[in-house]
Each structure stands twice: as C-alpha cells, then as structure tokens.
Subunit: 165 residues, 2 copies
C-alpha cells in the first residue's frame, strides 16, 4: 500500500495556489480605514461564482474530528462556485485536494493548516470533506447558492492513506 500513502505537508499559499487560496491575515499588510480607527486586510480570498443565477452565501458547519492515519475514500468538487472555510478557532485541520486529470481526481495532496488559516477552494477543485484532527471544530462557510447541480463526488477504488511523515 505504500504507493497509496500521502504525507501531510504544512499549508502555504504557494503550495496551495493550484487549488485555491489560503485565507491568512498574517500574510497580508493591512490598510488603514475609518479615519485610522480600523485596519483592513483586503481581498484575502475571492469567492468566485461561475453562473449568473448563483450568489454567495454565508453559512456555518460544525465538523467532527477524524483520526490519523486517514483513509480517504471520497473527494468532491463544486463546478459552479468556489467554497471557503474559515475556522472559528486556531486549531489545525487537514486540507486534502487533488489535481484534476481528465475529469477525475489525481493523486491527493494533504496539508495541515497553521494558526488562524482558512482555505478557499477554487471552482472545480477536488477536495476532501472538512477534517478536524483533534476535536469538533466549527467553521464559517462562504460559498455559492443557487439552482443547478453544484456537487460532483468521486469514490476511489481503494483508499489513500494520509498521515504525517
């Protein structure tokens, strides 16, 4: 099974760029606003919508934790909109994404978030479900809502085994 093993790497903007955007205040220089009474970290992540009938909505998710090594059987993607997850606390969570290869997910990459980081999956990016590592974690979700089919799922024939190296 060694060919099916995936090592978890730290999440960085550069490594994640093919899949979307890391939401990370610490990576941005703020600009003053409100007569100097506030500082804005602008454009941490765009939340793109592919179709004129969709719009962005704010939601929330409570997610239960997973144990490592993780057996990854399923990934999904959203063809009509980007999808952002922002944790409500500073606990790390696992981010699993796959390159697209002719409409199917290729070999997964696994990242663990740093303090305060969230992610925004670009439109159509294959990704795993929300994966807290230690205990239940709550997230804000900013994504597309609207008519049409915005979910594709892919079941792997055999699971990928994901763990720290």
């Amino acid at each position: 099974m060694s060919g099916r093993q995936i090592s978890i790497e730290p999440l960085t903007r550069e490594a994640f760029a093919p899949f979307g955007t890391v939401i990370d205040k610490a990576a941005v220089a703020p600009r003053p606003m409100n007569a100097g009474k506030a500082r804005r970290f602008h454009d941490l992540a765009p939340v793109a919508v592919a179709d004129p009938d969709g719009q962005v909505v704010i939601g929330a998710v409570e997610a239960d934790p997973y144990a490592l090594p993780l057996r990854l059987n399923l990934v999904e993607r959203h063809p009509l909109g980007a999808q952002a997850f922002i944790p409500l606390n500073d606990a790390p969570f696992l981010v699993v994404v796959c390159p697209d290869e002719n409409g199917a997910p290729g070999r997964p990459q696994a990242f663990v978030t740093g303090l305060g980081q969230g992610v925004c999956y670009a439109i159509g990016t294959w990704h795993g479900v929300l994966t807290p590592l230690d205990k239940r974690q709550d997230f804000w979700v900013i994504d597309r809502s609207g008519p049409g089919v915005n979910l594709e799922e892919h079941l792997f024939g055999e699971p990928w085994i994901i763990a720290f190296a």
Copy 2:
C-alpha cells in the same frame, strides 16, 4: 439635543430585517452532511452583488473600540454590494443603520449584538463604521470587490447621540 438621542436596542433578526440579515447560527436548525460527521447551518446570509463585474471577497478588519455615548457624525453605504461582518470573538458590538429617505439617511437605529452574532448589510443600506464597545475587535468581512464606485458617505449636520437607554 434630546431629539438627537438614539437608544440602543438588542439586535434581532426581525428588527434588523429592513436593513439586512443577522448572521446567527443559533437561529438556524442545522442539516447533517458528510455522512453524519458534520452539521451545516446553511444560508445564514446572502452576500448580494448588484453588478456583473463585481465578485465577493473575504477580508478581515481589526477595529478599535468606541466609547458610549457615541457621537455619530457619519454613515456610509455601498450601492454595488452587500457587506457582512462576522466577529472573531463573542464580544458585543454596536450596529447603527438608517432607513433611506430620498437618497439620504433618516433617523438612525442602533443595535447591540448578542453572543456570536454578525450582520450583513443589504445593498445600499446606510450604516455606521465598525463599532466595538470595549476593546479592539477583529472581524471577517465578506463583501463585493470590483470596478466602479461602491461607497457613498453622508455627514450629519449635527451628530446623533447613541447610548443605552
């Protein structure tokens, strides 16, 4: 000056409905997702965009606190998109909005948020700047980005005085 005094009320979805949406997980029944491993609170607030050239972005703001009674000199509005603020902690903050009266803000209404509440100002809603009450407060901001003028400000001839009753 008593005619210029505004009493702060608790923020509720009903009272705020003419101005936008209260973002409040506690007001929504979650739905199961991810094979029962997560619960989603969907559509807490739409983030509408008025023009095809705009898109929604995620940003953040650090805002300094204000003392009460607040002297409200200025409100602003965004004609091209809704604007949502979600606090990173549970501290209350002040939400000041005004009805529009022929293109100018009418008498303000002032609300104080409850535990975990955020707000989304509807497109074109007159509102005050971010107003934490006790200490610096950080927020996620979800709003429109794009070309065009998306800010109107209104300076009041004399300030409104905002305080708890």
